[in-house]
Symmetry: C2
Subunit: 165 residues, 2 copies
């Protein structure tokens, strides 16, 4: 079986951008940012991170796995909340240092640990100068009660980083 | 005028997640990851980074500004390619350490420096074990000729990081 870190190393810029070898470029901490969007609505659900092992497991199983930066461990999306993500498509970007997942939700579509469909439930006003800005809630209805779902979990104890549920 | 770094500091976890004060949480390098999607198609166009100044200018002007990690400078999207991004909506996530921009393209919709609409023009096969994987090109038609557009630019000299155009 492959070890988690043996993805090919990127060669030239041309190979990275125009080649067909998947050679992901992890950052200094061994992570890649990952955008998950809903295959149904196109909405951005969350932004999280993968290490090589999370990426390999996601590809192999077709279920989203991430790296929890706060807990310092691999995390299968939905392992506590039950709201898992089936990956419909996985893409890499031009310089292979970011991932886009299109996902179908298994169970409730609620990617956010706060119980909402998306983690992006607040808008920043545009056209304003300065840095004192009031957020407005948008598409912020809760799909589940986090107090109920995470009653016995890290999240309930307040040790869970947002969206890592 | 505000200095670029005077966004409020996050207070409690509860305030960060459920409050209306925009208090972005920059990483150790002073950056936030930013997902830009097409307001027209919903497609993920690119993943880039903003520092406080790029974020402030984006909010104030309604045009996407990023921080170029390779060039170490602020970068107004489209400053060289002409393919600017008008921000329709700017959202933050639950823990305020990521940004989602919905953008309309001014000029050609081609967010990628390779001339493509999106930087995510290659898919990784699913259901495979191991780490030797062949990418397939999807939605990869070029909207412009990068050799022509960047003839006199950093990109043409090979010093431009992917997607920073």
């Amino acid at each position: 079986m492959s070890t988690p870190t043996d993805f090919p190393k990127p060669k030239s810029k041309a190979d990275t951008e125009e080649g067909t070898v998947f050679a992901p470029r992890f950052d200094a901490e061994g992570l890649l940012p990952v955008v998950a969007t809903s295959a149904k609505t196109g909405e951005v659900l969350m932004l999280a991170y993968m290490n090589a092992e999370a990426l390999r497991r996601t590809i192999e199983t077709g279920e989203a796995h991430y790296w929890s930066r706060s807990r310092g461990r691999l995390w299968r999306k939905g392992e506590e909340s039950g709201n898992r993500q089936r990956v419909v498509e996985l893409r890499t970007d031009c310089d292979q240092d970011a991932i886009w997942l299109k996902v179908e939700s298994i169970g409730v579509e609620a990617a956010c640990h706060t119980g909402r469909r998306s983690c992006f439930y607040r808008a920043v006003p545009l056209g304003k100068g300065g840095t004192t800005l009031t957020l407005s809630f948008v598409d912020a209805e809760r799909q589940f009660d986090p107090g109920e779902v995470y009653r016995h979990s890290d999240a309930a104890k307040g040790t869970l980083k947002s969206s890592e549920s």
